[in-house]
């Protein structure tokens, strides 16, 4: 149904959902404790977070940002440079860098975001990916800082072998919870309504007094900062950054694919999408290597999602549930017109 309406603010299940989600996050690595399982979970949570962060701009504001790989890369490089050049130490201490990196990136992108957000639709999409190519050029060429195409080796932390992945898992889990909380807060505030208005008709929204520039800028900055935080943890986990990996067009595209599959404009859609796609993705990478067949499978999956599930899984199922609900209500109170007669396709706009 409506983008904000019943789902998040008024439904009493919201708190329940949050507790169930946090509980699942806390318990998962205990239940699925093998190395490959926790590794899979780390990536699933990372992509769930990246897709949710992308959703702030791409879903809520309706701006097709294609260059979030840039912010991920900035986060990753900041972590790598922080641990090697600045001497923050090892163990749990590098995790302390994550928050400053996120805040720093969120602030640093403001000037470029102001410029990008002056354009719309296709031009915005094109420019956002151009920014990613720019950041990649920096990573390749400012050799004194990034070591160019050699990449930077991040010191491997001295965590015990049996539970090596755990700290990274919990770091990702905290970041994901934070990202979902930010999304939830945005959706249930004026900001969310304003972004929704921007998506529907930006000119009219501005005419009606919505501060479109400001709300777009806030959404973009939050989204970039969160994306950078995931990049920072990723760099420490992988313990190696290289321009081609850290600033990867496929990473942004993957996050977008997950948001589409689960349902753009929804709170949980990106998380659902990531939970479905990342295991498949890791399986493909393990089975066929990160090579040609992997690329083909990715493209095919994308096309299937866009053509068969253009609204995403969550909106399609909620729509079906709502239709069932209205139908039973119409049966008990026959003097009312069935909702479907008024709005045959169950559209809300």
């Amino acid at each position: 149904m409506t983008w904000l309406g019943r789902e998040s603010r008024t439904r009493p299940g919201g708190a329940l959902q949050a507790f169930a989600f946090l509980g699942a996050l806390a318990v998962l690595p205990v239940v699925m404790g093998r190395h490959w399982q926790v590794n899979l979970l780390v990536f699933t949570l990372m992509y769930a977070g990246l897709a949710s962060a992308w959703n702030l701009v791409g879903g809520y504001a309706g701006y097709a940002a294609l260059g979030h790989g840039a912010f991920f890369g900035i986060g990753a490089y900041a972590m790598a440079i922080g641990t090697t050049h600045l001497g923050v130490g090892t163990g749990y201490r590098p995790f302390l860098l994550v928050l400053p990196i996120a805040v720093g990136t969120a602030l640093a992108v403001v000037p470029i975001a102001r410029l990008l957000l002056r354009t719309r639709a296709a031009t915005f999409a094109v420019l956002s990916i151009t920014v990613m190519f720019m950041v990649q050029t920096f990573a390749y060429n400012i050799r004194s800082l990034t070591h160019g195409s050699q990449g930077i080796a991040v010191p491997v932390p001295p965590f015990p072998f049996t539970t090596f992945e755990r700290p990274f898992y919990y770091a990702m889990a905290i970041l994901l919870a934070l990202t979902v909380a930010v999304c939830w807060a945005v959706r249930s505030s004026q900001l969310g309504l304003a972004l929704n208005a921007v998506r529907d008709d930006e000119d009219r929204a501005r005419g009606l007094g919505v501060q479109t520039e400001l709300v777009k800028l806030i959404a973009f900055s939050l989204s970039a900062g969160l994306t950078a935080a995931f990049g920072a943890v990723w760099a420490y986990y992988i313990s190696y950054v290289f321009p081609g990996f850290a600033i990867d067009p496929l990473l942004s595209l993957g996050a977008i694919l997950m948001a589409f599959l689960g349902g753009r404009h929804t709170l949980w859609g990106p998380v659902v999408g990531a939970a479905l796609i990342v295991p498949a993705q890791q399986y493909f990478a393990y089975r066929y290597g990160a090579s040609h067949l992997y690329l083909i499978a990715y493209a095919a999956l994308f096309l299937i999602v866009i053509y068969l599930l253009p609204d995403g899984i969550l909106p399609s199922t909620t729509q079906r549930l709502n239709r069932l609900r209205t139908r039973s209500r119409a049966r008990t109170t026959p003097d009312l017109l069935p909702m479907e007669a008024l709005n045959p396709r169950g559209e809300s706009e």
């Binding site: 097709a64 999409a125 420019l127 990916i129 151009t130 190519f133 595209l253 040609h292």
Partner: protein
């Protein structure tokens, strides 16, 4: 000074090839409102086909253009009919993502058949050049430039002097009105997509002689193409051509004077500098809802 003039000549010549690629992109955007994120991989695909025609059948790359242009035209139209027709009206962003996904799929397919080592098409004359007034003019680059001029000229003639051209321009201006006046908008869009991809076919064949390529070079080419489009003003053909030549020259002068590492980047700086003043690009118009 000699170095700068030399680099400028080289830049203008390669700029012609960029102009060819980018004007196809502009035509597709003008008619269908879709940014063709697969334009670069179409050019690479064409380069590979030309490579095969040359190395296995001995067909000269410039001759292979005669085969590749109709092939790529058919390919482009087919993609429009099968995938994009049902999307463009509902959401240009979806169409853009579909083409992006397709670019990745095509790259995977090319990597599968040709492996990922870089290749270059090198017929006997690749290293020939003429010396005019002390400046070197590479034979291949000059022919590539002339080919671009011929293809762009015919494209211009089609647009301005044929019935199809009028339908193309009408659809670009206002699809609904064009449809009301009896233009088959779907068919015109399929043809526009075909023509746009055909320019990638022509450009790719000669691109493969000038620059070593593999599937992954699509990103490099794509970033150039996209910046040209934005600088020129997305749907504007003259704007695109001017922007492409600027890119060629800036890139080549920076490569000669500073370092090839920063050549692509320098153009992005130009692009962002222009955008702070004119968000619609050099020749673009402000459209309600689009910009």
């Amino acid at each position: 000074m000699h170095l700068i003039v030399q680099a400028t000549i080289g830049g203008i010549l390669i700029g012609g090839v960029y102009a060819l690629l980018a004007s196809g992109q502009a035509m597709i955007f003008g008619v269908t409102r879709t940014v063709n994120f697969a334009q670069a991989i179409f050019a690479i695909l064409s380069a590979y086909l030309s490579y095969t025609l040359f190395s296995d059948f001995g067909v000269d790359p410039f001759l292979s253009v005669l085969v590749l242009v109709p092939t790529m035209f058919a390919f482009g139209s087919a993609i429009y009919i099968v995938f994009l027709r049902r999307l463009t009206r509902s959401g240009a962003e979806l169409a853009l993502l579909v083409l992006y996904a397709m670019a990745i799929g095509i790259q995977g397919t090319l990597d599968y058949f040709y492996k990922t080592n870089t290749r270059v098409i090198s017929p006997g004359y690749t290293n020939h050049s003429w010396t005019v007034g002390g400046y070197q003019i590479s034979e291949v680059r000059l022919f590539a430039f002339l080919l671009a001029v011929v293809v762009l000229g015919s494209l211009h003639a089609i647009r301005q002097h044929t019935k199809l051209g009028r339908a193309l321009r009408a659809t670009a201006q206002n699809p609904t009105a064009a449809q009301l006046l009896g233009v088959n908008v779907e068919r015109v869009s399929a043809i526009a997509m075909g023509l746009g991809v055909a320019t990638a076919g022509a450009a790719g064949a000669v691109f493969g002689m000038v620059v070593p390529f593999n599937g992954n070079s699509q990103y490099d080419l794509l970033s150039k193409l996209l910046s040209i489009s934005v600088l020129g003003g997305m749907a504007s053909m003259p704007g695109t051509i001017v922007a492409a030549v600027i890119l060629g020259v800036v890139e080549s002068v920076v490569a000669a004077k500073i370092s090839p590492d920063w050549s692509a980047f320098s153009f992005l700086v130009v692009l962002f500098a222009v955008l702070t003043v004119r968000p619609q690009g050099l020749f673009g118009r402000r459209l309600r809802g689009a910009l």
